[in-house]
């Protein structure tokens, strides 16, 4: 039986309890995650930082019910990850956008309406056109992915993940392949979208500055085996704008993050 998905606002978005994940690969066993315990309140924006191979992607995959945990329990919106996935409460943005190349931008955003059992948009939630406008792509509805720049493709992927108004948005290094200017702009826009939609966001990144600028809290993972190294709160004046990264306060907190990261 799938557990019920609790109504909004009265339980944490994510509760990780001693979650461990192992992979068996050619005679070796890799412990991707070990004893992860974590609580993410609804509506927060958590960034995840850590060296390569420390299990950041695996953590998102466990939340999205792509990989089952071997030990411990993962609660998503008070229920199982599977229940949250089937209720379409989870949006996932992959590193390489993962757009279907034969579909136009608009049809890519529409994909969630066509698979997994046809379901109408929840009342009051934004439609595909509105979401494309939200990510700044009004006028590009009919473009095919190969006609879009990397940044624009990533915007389409974000719009697709937001369709249906999921309460949790998982982002796996979504801007990792982009140039710095595009990345900065998308960072600011993501904050705007977050404030506009109230979605809980878990955002994986390799960049200390991105982690500090976006995150209200930064989860630092250590590698081999992947475990929680620290949960670092980031205190910055709201609303956050790009110039805040030039301030001494931001620099100090970023330097602290770097110091924590170096102990991983």
């Amino acid at each position: 039986m799938l557990g019920p998905v609790a109504p909004a606002g009265d339980c944490p978005a994510l509760e990780c309890e001693d979650v461990g994940v192992r992979f068996r690969a050619e005679r070796r066993t890799v412990t991707a995650l070990e004893r992860i315990t974590l609580r993410v309140p609804a509506g927060s924006l958590l960034t995840v930082l850590g060296p390569s191979g420390c299990g950041k992607s695996t953590l998102l995959r466990v939340i999205a019910d792509i990989v089952p945990p071997h030990t411990g329990s993962m609660r998503v919106l008070g229920g199982t990850p599977e229940a949250a996935r089937r209720a379409r409460q989870i949006g996932f943005v992959f590193q390489d956008a993962a757009l279907l190349p034969w579909r136009s931008a608009l049809d890519n955003v529409r994909l969630p309406l066509e698979v997994g059992g046809r379901r109408p948009l929840p009342p009051g939630s934004k439609g595909p056109e509105e979401l494309l406008a939200l990510v700044g792509l009004a006028g590009w509805e009919r473009a095919l992915p190969h006609e879009l720049s990397g940044g624009m493709r990533q915007r389409v992927a974000i719009a697709r993940a937001l369709l249906g108004g999921p309460r949790i948005l998982l982002m796996d290094e979504p801007f990792g392949a982009l140039d710095e200017i595009t990345r900065d702009r998308l960072n600011e826009e993501l904050l705007r979208i977050w404030q506009e939609t109230g979605t809980t966001i878990v955002f994986v990144t390799h960049s200390i500055y991105e982690a500090a600028f976006l995150g209200r809290e930064v989860l630092v993972l250590a590698a081999r085996p992947g475990r929680v190294r620290a949960l670092v709160p980031i205190d910055l004046p709201e609303p956050r704008r790009l110039p805040v990264r030039e301030t001494a306060e931001f620099m100090r907190q970023a330097a602290h993050l770097r110091a924590v990261l170096e102990t991983c």
Binding site: R88, F92, Q95, A98, E114, G116, H146
Partner: protein
């Protein structure tokens, strides 16, 4: 409210400034070179052929001169076309049947790994038998007439398409599969919304090869015990030392094969619009 907006797409034609015009002229020149140079190359080879036959006094039954071949093409056009028709029917029929079967089997292989493990090696083995060796077996099995030639053409097309299609159906990016999982898509939806489309570039590269191999299969099928068709005509012309007819027949067969290929490529360009390599 969206605060930032990506630049709107350019809808109006840009003003033709001199640099733009120069670029367009260069593009046209390049395109002309690509058409004219191959024609010039072909003509020069024709000339070499003609000169060699004339200067070395090659006997007409060994190799004809180009103008004799042209004459034969013109004079016996009706007869040549009458023989091309059955070959074309066999090739196209075999192409359709063989490729259709290959796509169906590839679909089964992708969904039933046991079947793939059991039959894929057998398919590889059968395919490794040369066409000339397979043809007599099939002729014995299927008897004379149209059927064995269609079967040979079909079998020739079948394997490359099967291999490419299996690869194409499996060539889905892992992230796209994870996306479908997150969207709780059924297997059927994954097949129709994802696998089928991503296999199309693979399928078409197999179909383009199949267009010429199906023709080869039909012709080889006509080599043994057949009265009509390009293959039969080739055999007859060779035995009669009618080199002009032989060359004219081969030309007709190749022209058909090229035409077949071009039709498939045209369909590919209409269908596979997203693949930058194809669309370009």
């Amino acid at each position: 409210m969206p605060t930032m907006q990506a630049a709107a797409p350019v809808t109006a034609e840009p003003q033709a400034d001199p640099a733009d015009r120069a670029e367009r002229a260069a593009l046209i020149r390049e395109r002309a070179r690509r058409i004219l140079l191959p024609i010039a190359g072909g003509l020069s080879l024709l000339f070499v052929w003609w000169a060699l036959v004339a200067l070395l006094h090659v006997k007409p039954f060994i190799a004809p001169s180009p103008e004799v071949v042209a004459h034969t093409l013109y004079d016996r056009f009706g007869m040549l076309m009458a023989n091309l028709l059955p070959t074309a029917i066999e090739a196209v029929g075999g192409f359709i049947i063989g490729n259709f079967g290959a796509v169906l089997l590839a679909t089964l292989f992708v969904h039933r790994r046991t079947v793939e493990l059991a039959f894929f090696p057998v398919a590889v083995l059968i395919n490794s038998i040369p066409v000339v060796a397979k043809a007599p077996i099939l002729l014995l099995l299927l008897g004379n007439g149209l059927a064995p030639k269609v079967a040979i053409a079909a079998i020739i097309c079948f394997f490359p398409t099967l291999v490419n299609m299996v690869r194409g159906l499996q060539a889905v990016s892992p992230q796209a599969m994870e996306l479908m999982h997150v969207l709780s898509a059924s297997k059927r939806e994954v097949f129709f919304k994802l696998r089928l489309q991503s296999s199309l570039p693979f399928l078409f590269s197999a179909l383009k090869i199949a267009a010429s191999t199906a023709t080869v299969g039909a012709i080889v099928g006509e080599w043994i015990g057949s009265q009509v068709g390009i293959g039969a005509l080739i055999v007859q012309a060779t035995y009669n030392f009618d080199s002009a007819l032989l060359y004219a027949t081969v030309l007709c067969g190749s022209a058909f094969s090229v035409l077949f290929f071009l039709v498939i490529r045209l369909i590919e360009r209409l269908v596979v619009r997203w693949d930058a390599g194809v669309a370009a």
